[in-house]
Every structure is written in structure tokens, then in C-alpha cells.
Symmetry: C2
Subunit: 229 residues, 2 copies
């Protein structure tokens, strides 16, 4: 299956221990982990390195969800500074454009062997103020810089479908919004996503492993029914 767990520690916990514990518990059955900017700002590069020094991270997607949106020099500097933590995928915003921004970041990522994922659509209501109006232009930028993937909300299967149609099959689609935000496991996969990102539903569960297994089963069932139909 194609499950990535978003590790966003609640306030008041020891962030490193919390993350390490969850990676240990569900690492055997999921495809990757996503680390948000709040965590990264809190613990810094060294903290991230501690977290990723755990054993069962091999072969997994380890995503720094930095939502970078700066000039190329600054974005590349950040990616270089986290490159030796074990992170193999970073998220930036397509809207900053190519020249002097994503062109440089894309080069730096290639050089460092890091997957570049670009946000082209967000799910909050305010995304309609500006971002939704330029969705097609943002998708074009994903193609232009030959990004490894894009982020599209699981709550909008119609958007995932049109993103997949535009981008073709080689660019990965990562979909957050499964669980707490309302999308059901498997829905985004059925619409064409490659990975579903699940956070609180699993990480706040009393039984994270059991819940992750349940999510995977639901993904399988849903995929079976949507592919069968």
C-alpha cells in the first residue's frame, strides 16, 4: 500500500522520543514519514538527525514538509543543511516560480539525491483567494522543473483526477487530508494519488499500529472496489 504517516507531535511532549517511538511502532508497515516545519523549527537539524537515526527507516520516504517559498539560494541552503539528516524528500511551493527559485532548488535536490515535491493546491478555504485561480500554471511549473511529485488534497478527488491527467503517470501525487480532515482511506488512491498522508488518525490513536493496519486494509478494499468498477 501507499501510506505515509505525518509526524506532528502534540504540544508538551518530548518531540524526539515521540517521533522515534512512532517510527518504531508503525515503521514496519508504512511507506514513509512526513515531518512538518513546526517540528523541524523546534528541534533543528540536530534533532531531526537524532529522530532519523532510528533503525527501520531504510527504503522509506522521509519527507521534510518545509513548504519552502523563497529564492533559490535560500531554499537550496536549507535543503543542503538537512541533507545529512536522512531526509530524502522535501516539499516546496510551486508558486514561487522557476528562474532564480525552483530551478536552483531542483538542481540542488538532484545533486543531493533528494526528491522535490511541489505544492500546487491546498485544502483550506483561503486557498481560493489566489492559489486556486492559478492551479493550471502551478501544475505547469511542476512539469517544467521536472519535480518528483506534487501535493494535492485527498479531500478533493476531482482535483487529484485532473492533476493526474495533466501530469501523466511519472510524477507522484501525495495526498494529505485523510482521516482527521475528512477524506476516507483509499479515496485519493482511487482518484490517482500515489501516497496518502495520514496524521492524527494514526498518531493520536491509542493503538497506532492497529489503526495503521486498519487504514491499510481500508485502502486495499477501496482500491479493489474502485478498480473493479
Amino acid at each position: 500500500m501507499s501510506l505515509v504517516v505525518a509526524l506532528d507531535p502534540p504540544l508538551g511532549v518530548d518531540e524526539r522520543k515521540w517521533c522515534i517511538n512512532l517510527i518504531d511502532v508503525v515503521g514496519g508497515i508504512v511507506q514513509g514519514f512526513k515531518f512538518g516545519l513546526p517540528l523541524i523549527v523546534k528541534v533543528g537539524v540536530r534533532g531531526l538527525k537524532d529522530i532519523l537515526s532510528v533503525s527501520n527507516r531504510e527504503g522509506k520516504l522521509l519527507i521534510a514538509d518545509l513548504k519552502l517559498a523563497d529564492i533559490g539560494y535560500v531554499m537550496s541552503l536549507i535543503v543542503r543543511s538537512i541533507a545529512d539528516t536522512g531526509i530524502n524528500t522535501v516539499i516546496a511551493h510551486a508558486f514561487v516560480g522557476v528562474k532564480g527559485a525552483l530551478a536552483e532548488l531542483s538542481e540542488a535536490c538532484k545533486e543531493l539525491g533528494i526528491n522535490l515535491v511541489l505544492v500546487t493546491r491546498m485544502s483550506h478555504p483561503g486557498a481560493s483567494d489566489i492559489m486556486d485561480k492559478v492551479f493550471n500554471d502551478l501544475l505547469k511549473i511542476v512539469k517544467e522543473v521536472n519535480a518528483w511529485g506534487t501535493v494535492l488534497p485527498a479531500t478533493r478527488p476531482d482535483i487529484i483526477r485532473s492533476g493526474r491527467e495533466f501530469l501523466g503517470s511519472s510524477i507522484k501525487i501525495l495526498s494529505p487530508g485523510v482521516g482527521a480532515q475528512g477524506a476516507k482511506p483509499g479515496e485519493a488512491l482511487c482518484a490517482g494519488a500515489d501516497y496518502e498522508i495520514v496524521g492524527r488518525l494514526i498518531t493520536r490513536s491509542k493503538d497506532p499500529l492497529g489503526t495503521a493496519l486498519k487504514v491499510i486494509n481500508e485502502q486495499r478494499e477501496r482500491l479493489r472496489s474502485c478498480r473493479g468498477s
Copy 2:
């Protein structure tokens, strides 16, 4: 005068010592300091707190240039986590829109007594791909969330003038791009900016204090001539 120094440490230095030293050297004559995301990611909240524990930071603008571009919950979480470091100003992107994003961030900033500054225009060539096309909409968002200020490039006095005209006099304009990026000290102030942000010209100088004084003198001279004309 209205000089903010961007503290972007070069690779290979002890970032904390480098920042603390520069704050110590030029803190007496400048209006503030800006800390970039590469530094913050590198040293984390604790490192930022160490840096800002220096003596002569009182009354200064202490800016975390996070270029936040996420949902409101995530952006607020980050601002909350750095609120006790001494940072009193944060930079986010206007383009993420209001509802579910900047509305929440704006509330969190008010509650924490932190100035919110929104990027509405960047200076790299790729900014013309998307951002420049929606410049007026981005300025409207600055007004709508009643942000404390906006970021406009010192290299484009024409843009600063139209930003000032649109925003009125109560919203601050912060202008990076002075020095290494080509704008001359005072140019942005003459066009209507409140603060000029200078980085490498001062921080990479052999005599940061002397260079900062020179910049301030140039700002004064230019302001005198542009206001006199």
C-alpha cells in the same frame, strides 16, 4: 534611520557566535535584525533563544523570516513555538489567502504581541511566473488581515511606490535587496519604504560597524536629496 541587518551566517561558522557577535557590534546603531529560515532550521528554537539572549536587543525589530506558507494551524503553531525566543515580527506569504490560513495566523500574532509581515512581491525573475500577476490581490490580503507590514524589493522603487499608494501610510514596508542585490541605500526609503534590509554588505564586511555607519549616512543623504527635490 531605518536599517535592519539580515543575519545569514556563512557556511562553516558557529552560527550562534557569529550572530551574537554581529548583534553586539552593530546593535547600537541599527533598528533591527532579520533571521532567515536556513539559520532557524539549523539551530532550532533553542539556538534562536540563545542568540536573542544578548543584551542590546531591547526596542529592536527582531524578525523571523520564516516565509510561512501553510494552513493557519501549522503557521500558528510555529509562531507559538518561537514566541518566547524574543522574536517580535514574523514573515509569511500573502498568497496562501485568508480563511483557514492568514486569518488564524493574524489572530495568533495579535495574541502573542508579534508583528505580522506578508510578502507580496519577490525580486527573483521567476516571481513573474505567478506572483507578479496577482500582486494587487496580494496587497488586498495585507489590508484584509490588517498585517503590520509587507515586504517589497528595494530593487524596484516603482513597486514600492505603488504598494505605498495602495496600502496607505499605516502599514510598514520592509525592503530587502539593498547592497549585494544592487539597490543603493536610501532608494527604497525615498520610494516609501519604512525599513531597508541589508545583509552581506554589512555582515561580510571586514568592518561591519563602519559599513553600517556608512549605509546610514548614505540613507540620510539620499533621503535629504529626494525629499528636497
